[in-house]
């Protein structure tokens, strides 16, 4: 399922919203989540999961192609943990 298929699916389920309205809400939703994470905040969607940012220290690495030593700068990486409801739902016998 792609973003546009998601928009279609939601549009077919809710009344009094145009496809365009749904598109705006979907875009705004993921943009808000991105913004919040960029600020270092955690995003928690009950039943779905939570997104967190973890800091990674810089480290000495190596270019696997050339074997050259390089320094990998410290960075922040996103983490996702699935919520209880979805964990259970994907394990129901289908």
């Amino acid at each position: 399922m792609t973003k546009s298929e998601l928009i279609e699916a939601v549009a077919s389920k809710v009344n009094n919203f145009s496809r365009k309205d749904i598109e705006i809400i979907v875009e705004t939703l993921f943009n808000s989540m991105t913004e919040s994470l960029s600020k270092g905040d955690k995003v928690e969607i009950r039943g779905f999961g939570s997104f967190k940012i973890k800091a990674r220290d810089g480290r000495q690495g190596r270019n696997p192609k050339s074997g050259e030593n390089i320094f990998i700068e410290s960075k922040r990486v996103p983490f996702f943990k699935a919520g209880k409801e979805i964990r259970e739902r994907i394990n129901k016998i289908s």
């Binding site: 792609t2 998601l6 309205d21 808000s32 009950r46």
Partner: protein, 95 residues
């Protein structure tokens, strides 16, 4: 940030009623969950991909008691952040 905060933010930006926005957001996550349940992945361009992975059964140990247990085969949900999201997360100095 919780779902309620997201509803608030989206509501401020789009101007539909808060109740309607909440219902649409609920439906967005519900659609994603239903799709994943079917074993299909969900790709949100600019944000990331949600995937289902099949894990085999394996022997494990209760870390508290040390007892050997069998961990059943199961499906897990994974998230892979898009390049855009990773970039955005690193574009601001840490709080």
């Amino acid at each position: 940030m919780t779902k309620a905060d997201i509803v608030e933010l989206v509501f401020e930006k789009v101007g539909f009623s808060k109740k309607d926005v909440a219902a649409v957001i609920e439906e967005i996550f519900e659609s994603i969950k239903t799709t994943l349940e079917k074993g299909e992945k969900v790709k949100i361009s600019g944000f990331g991909n949600f995937n289902i992975r099949q894990k085999r059964a394996r022997r494990g140990r209760n870390p508290q008691t040390g007892t050997e247990i069998t961990i059943d085969e199961r499906r897990v949900m994974t998230f892979k952040a898009s390049q855009l999201l990773k970039k955005s997360i690193n574009s601001q100095p840490s709080a």
